[in-house]
């Protein structure tokens, strides 16, 4: 969904740039608090993994393709603030080094591909978790749901931005139908890949899954309150 240069007019590019800068600035402040000894190295990996995943375009309909955008995945793995930074970083690297995604539309792309999918995906993921019974299947299912929904929503936000400052006059109903329709299909792929990656992390290092740290049973997943001794035995943890 990388928007190239020229698709939107200058005022919208500037406005989206300001909005993206504000969002990134906010996330830089909030991310710091969540960067512990597990999340910090993981965040770099998440960014690199999402860069790689962007290259893996899968066919959707005849003549169309999609790839993981990764906003929901990043938010679930390392938290929404750090996750937004991960995807924004990928977009900056893509625009500067690979000429993918316009330079003037970098703000638009950070809003569409990083901020919106991460916020929508994580919100839906958490809401779905709250409704589901505890366990790995629930977490994977919630991850699928959040990631899936995040993509047509981002496509809808593109249409909204285009209505505000699109460079051409096109019927917005047509644009909205085409964008949300094709991205609903791409969203299925987003959901499947996100659930697979989340499932893999759950099977290997479930404690690394930020978004579900409070949702899985087992002593290794308990988050100790700040004042609690860290020398307590696993048995004591389990009993408490």
């Amino acid at each position: 969904m990388h928007v190239p240069d020229g698709f939107v007019d200058a005022p919208l590019s500037i406005g989206a740039g300001v909005a993206a800068a504000a969002a990134v600035g906010f996330c830089l402040r909030r991310s710091r608090a969540g960067l512990d000894e597990r999340t910090t190295p993981l965040a770099g990996l998440v960014a690199a993994f999402i860069f790689a995943a962007h290259l893996l375009t899968f066919p959707v309909l005849a003549g169309t393709s999609g790839h993981l955008l990764g906003g929901a995945l990043a938010a679930i793995l390392v938290g929404p603030y750090t996750g937004i930074l991960c995807v924004a970083l990928v977009l900056v690297v893509q625009a500067l080094i690979f000429a993918d995604g316009g330079l003037t539309t970098l703000g638009v792309n950070i809003v569409l591909i990083s901020v919106v999918p991460a916020v929508v995906g994580y919100t839906v993921f958490r809401a779905a978790l709250r409704l589901a019974p505890r366990g790995r299947i629930s977490v994977s299912g919630a991850a699928f749901t959040g990631a899936f929904i995040s993509i047509p929503v981002a496509a809808g936000v593109f249409v909204g931005l285009y209505a505000l400052g699109g460079a051409a006059d096109v019927p917005l109903g047509l644009l909205a139908g085409a964008m949300t329709g094709i991205h609903a299909l791409i969203g299925i792929g987003e959901g499947v890949v996100t659930a697979l990656v989340v499932g893999t992390v759950l099977a290997t290092r479930p404690d690394l899954l930020y978004g579900a740290r409070d949702h899985l049973p087992g002593p290794t997943l308990r988050i100790r309150p700040a004042g609690e001794a860290t020398t307590s035995s696993p048995a004591a943890d389990r009993a408490s």
Binding site: D36, G63, L208
Partner: protein, 124 residues
């Protein structure tokens, strides 16, 4: 309080190293088999609403070494894409590590427990 548990960090590094290997494999090898079809937005803006696509302007860096996820001067398609993919993963990883370790370092050197605001609501 000091860092009382050193094991989790080292095993996180093992996990991260394994993840980096997977990312390099995906970007350097699997990406060759990816679909070359236009993505959703480009499909809409050429097939469905061509007036949108007609406004596209050439990227200022379209002649750069790795533009379009290829490598300038490398004739072999597979190698050209593989180099660009591996370079991209390496740059993103390095930039991410710099960013997040620098951010964390600004937390007054504390290595305390995960903060209480993380992870959303608890005990649901």
């Amino acid at each position: 309080m000091g860092r009382s548990r050193t094991r989790p960090r080292s095993t996180v590094m093992v996990f991260v190293a394994a993840g980096v290997v997977v990312a390099l494999f995906l970007a350097g090898f699997v990406s060759f088999y990816a679909s070359g079809a236009p993505d959703g937005l480009m499909w809409v803006s050429t097939e469905q609403a061509p007036a949108v696509g007609a406004q596209e302007q050439e990227h200022a860096f379209s002649e750069s070494t790795f533009a379009g996820y290829g490598t300038e001067g490398v004739a072999n398609d597979r190698l050209s894409g593989a180099i660009a993919g591996v370079v991209g993963v390496a740059i993103t990883l390095a930039a991410g590590a710099l960013l997040f370790f620098a951010l964390r370092g600004r937390r007054s050197g504390s290595s305390g427990p995960p903060d209480s605001t993380s992870g959303g609501t608890r005990g649901s």
